[in-house]
Symmetry: C2
Subunit: 657 residues, 2 copies
Amino acid sequence: MASTTTKTGEPFDRAQLESLMRRRLFYTPSFEIYGGVSGLYDYGPPGCSLLANMVDVWRKHFVLEEDMLEVDCTMLTPHEVLKTSGHVDKFADWMCKDPKTGEIFRADHLVEEVLESRLKGDKEARGQKVEEKEDPKKKKKKVKEIKAIQLDDAVVTEYEEVLAKIDNYNGEELGQLITKYDIKNPATNGELLPPVSFNLMFQTSIGPSSNMPGYLRPETAQGQFLNFQKLLEFNQQQMPFASASIGKSFRNEISPRAGLLRVREFLMAEIEHFVDPEGGKKHPRFNDVRDVKLELLNRDVQLSGKTTVETTPIGEAVDKGIVDNETLGYFLARIQQYLLKIGADPKKIRFRQHMANEMAHYATDCWDAELLTSYGWIECVGCADRSAYDLSVHMNKTGAPLLVREKRAEPLKVEEWQIDVEKKKFGPKFKKDGKTVEAAIEALTQDMREKLSLDLKNNGKITIDVPEVGEGKVELGTDLINIEKRTRVENTREYTPNVIEPSFGIGRILYSIVEHNYWVRPGDEEGARGVLSFPPTVAPTKVLLVPLSTHADFAPLVKRLSLKLRKMGISSRVDDSSASIGKRYSRNDELGTPLGITVDFESVQKGTFTLRDRDSTKQVRASEEEIFAAVQSLCEGNETWAEVSKRLPVFEGQQLE
Amino acid sequence: MASTTTKTGEPFDRAQLESLMRRRLFYTPSFEIYGGVSGLYDYGPPGCSLLANMVDVWRKHFVLEEDMLEVDCTMLTPHEVLKTSGHVDKFADWMCKDPKTGEIFRADHLVEEVLESRLKGDKEARGQKVEEKEDPKKKKKKVKEIKAIQLDDAVVTEYEEVLAKIDNYNGEELGQLITKYDIKNPATNGELLPPVSFNLMFQTSIGPSSNMPGYLRPETAQGQFLNFQKLLEFNQQQMPFASASIGKSFRNEISPRAGLLRVREFLMAEIEHFVDPEGGKKHPRFNDVRDVKLELLNRDVQLSGKTTVETTPIGEAVDKGIVDNETLGYFLARIQQYLLKIGADPKKIRFRQHMANEMAHYATDCWDAELLTSYGWIECVGCADRSAYDLSVHMNKTGAPLLVREKRAEPLKVEEWQIDVEKKKFGPKFKKDGKTVEAAIEALTQDMREKLSLDLKNNGKITIDVPEVGEGKVELGTDLINIEKRTRVENTREYTPNVIEPSFGIGRILYSIVEHNYWVRPGDEEGARGVLSFPPTVAPTKVLLVPLSTHADFAPLVKRLSLKLRKMGISSRVDDSSASIGKRYSRNDELGTPLGITVDFESVQKGTFTLRDRDSTKQVRASEEEIFAAVQSLCEGNETWAEVSKRLPVFEGQQLE
């Protein structure tokens, strides 16, 4: 895994960024004063604001732009729903227990770590350089010690092959690997029990009696599926349409690691786009995105053991069948546009197709938008074609009509063998068995009907099986039935929509965006300083207001500017602490605040203010009106700093940094 | 309980409103196709949007306006945290089980219902008119049948007294009432077991082993308290400050009822305002709200058995001690301002002080903002003074310094008896017991030290109790210790802040606001129609765009207007269905859309549009520019419809309704 570089091309130092994020309270381990709980994190004020801004952009980019129907469904979900959806049986990881110590390991992670450590030991023994893949402290590695033992060349190859496919083994296969490679508890060398399945849903009980088991939802999708019928009705029966939902979901990880990337409670934003499975899943707006270029890593390339991405316009990818259909392609392009809007580095985005055995149980095709971080390429958005799976299973289970009925433009003509029953004679003849016999007739297939029509024609009677009646056979003559080939006209078409599901892990995107926007400004006497160059749209605070000193003349001015910004809908914060202006600005560079307005004596006397750009630390000075117009234009993305600093007089008077 | 009236003064029909809310998908029972789960509801598109707008206004009104520190903490909470906070022991209701049928009743609700039904039966027997308090179907009453049996006058009085205090009984007392009044399972007349406590938190288990029990949080507050130290640091040690959090909380109700008002999963918005307990809990902005008038129902009035509210300016209420302090008073006023902003009916708001035994275990004082609905006065916002309770218990449990250290303006001088120990001689004399003896000296109170100083002066030695050493007493002479009165100077002050907590039940407010804004427009040939007169700020959609017909010329115009509104940040929806314009508008009156723009042939030819007001159904016609300016001005609350319709030419051309 390549070590990443910052946006200024310097080596990325994760420990440094994490220290910044905790110091500035972007996030913090939950319940830390109680020792913390792994996989649970709280967002502090800047993280919370960044999250809210990302969600706000998401809502505008997807929900409002495309008139999606947003819903807010409960997290508590009764057992039966998730049994039907398949999550009770299949939403699980494999875990191994050490019966002596009681320790529990996630089986695939353990195999991965042990084999990787052996390969490292082999390299050491061969005198090769060993590159640290990751900060061991952060990953809470089980394997603490690398032993320099040389392996056979064949074993090295075998290990490497296993590691390449580590996501694809089931429990039994992992158990075989553990036996074959003699993998034990790395700390105690104790034998492990064979892997058992561990369901990743948090279980609870709804109500005072214990007869309603439930779970915390593992995804927001199910609530949307269950409401399909009502949503279609709300949409006045028009197809296609999409629902959307933003909310927390839960996953009881066996051993969470990698900070914000693998957590037990997380914010998701999911779209369920319902589309007619016939006609190639076209999308009415596909032409708007046809030329958007994506970095695609398809299934075939991966199967050949490579990770070469191809830059492909999405139109071409759909035309060539690399991406299955327009709707899937449309969303891949829209996902990329969203990621760029909130500040993802275009060089660190790719779309990877899932391998057949890697997909969730409900998916028929799936592409992940992956963002490159110091942890490697991270799945941040999944875009799956769930086909008709979910609507079908819930409809089969409950009988609710989760389907679309539409008037056919052209009535459908179906040629078929129909059987007419002479009701008047039927009743007297079969009495109480009449209905059973009729049902048996109704159930006859077209092929059987065709054959029986010949029998009836030739013999004047037929015999059919009706196990429930008499001796199991019933004889019917031409006086009772008639079999004819006729044309039936269908005016209504019924179908179960397919679902294309873009599913966003907001916390993962947040962490990746922070990495993408982090860099270090070369130091002065106070040392190097971190900067988070968020685009204004998502920056936690847009403007810092800094009075030059605690002089009494500044306070009323600062208050007025602050009110004015609030009225404009631009978030600002005042820093009137006694720290130097330079310190106050560098604190806010760490918080990612793009703009700063200094209030000084000239502001009091002449009504002019300086405006500072976070990234260049350059300043301009102008009238209040001009400064506010520039702030608005920069925040709305209508102008860049380069443009503003050409327009307005550069200011170099104060020594701020 | 008084039956309520709509804003136009007509009797309120709840069944009618609920039918509207479900039909228009404001909300719907969760998992309905699986039979539903009581106490769980999903919000559909208009409900979801209304909720999001209410939250948005909340964030601006509180978080941004007052620079609160917003945090987003996890819902999953380990057992230990909620044990310390008191929720494991005290967050419970009392339930009674019928051992034969297995049915479970919430004890206070059962007593209430049975006594109420007996009182009704008594009235019937006396030939008095019985008023239905509530729609029985909605409340899922246990008592199905009222028996007309006359009671003794004394019994009637007794029942009425019990009912007035029904919220104040503990489990034992409820058990005594059940025995005394011979209350049984209303359906089967079966004996009930005595009430047992049922904890209202949903329990689960975190991680793969079963050694970390946890709960879904019952409030967002605990996460804020646990992060106090970090938030204070983030706020650069400045006091007072407030944190805030918006998120779901959970309450495993024994038998949820009353629709959206008592649910198991709900959205809360909570503020924790941390304030110095010394100096009367002043608030710097109190003067801004001093004259705001509130309807107050204080504890004393309620104790006297009355519900008379007094209209009081909050300044006066604090001055008179009706409301304990400025900070509490400030938030009561701000809460009212918020409720009015989102459309609460000013005549249906009151503030009720909690009775001493009604308060949550952590509160020392509490006022509820109650909104009048057809279910009676509903607690929608609690504003509690939690004192130092939470920070203290968590600090005691974990040792984390959840306190404020501040430099004293004037150093504090403390006169006290200090004891000096001659360390050099101490060690050799007491050897291994040295530390124990020193600790015993350290623990001596000021009073004891004063007395001992006299002994030492008079006798040259003293005797102190040290149970752990030798025979339990130790003799110390002037060679070993010295006791003197000296002045100690304290430059730093340490204190645990008190917490004022405004806590908003967003779902309850939403339901109440919907009731407050609902009315029925007198019917035409299609019958009476419901209207939801939401203020534009919270209305799910601000503008409906209606092409006169499906004529091809209209579509591009509609699309352009829609884009323009989106750019202005004003949410709109197009209804280009083939329904009549009148039908399309009345559908959107039910959704609460305040404005409508019709695109007709004159729009195509002359570029003018009509703008319709939901409440009056009146229209004006003007140029695109003028119409958009009016829309913006109406949505931002800068103008009323009355003003706009005076400015712009009234339009009566089309017959729309």
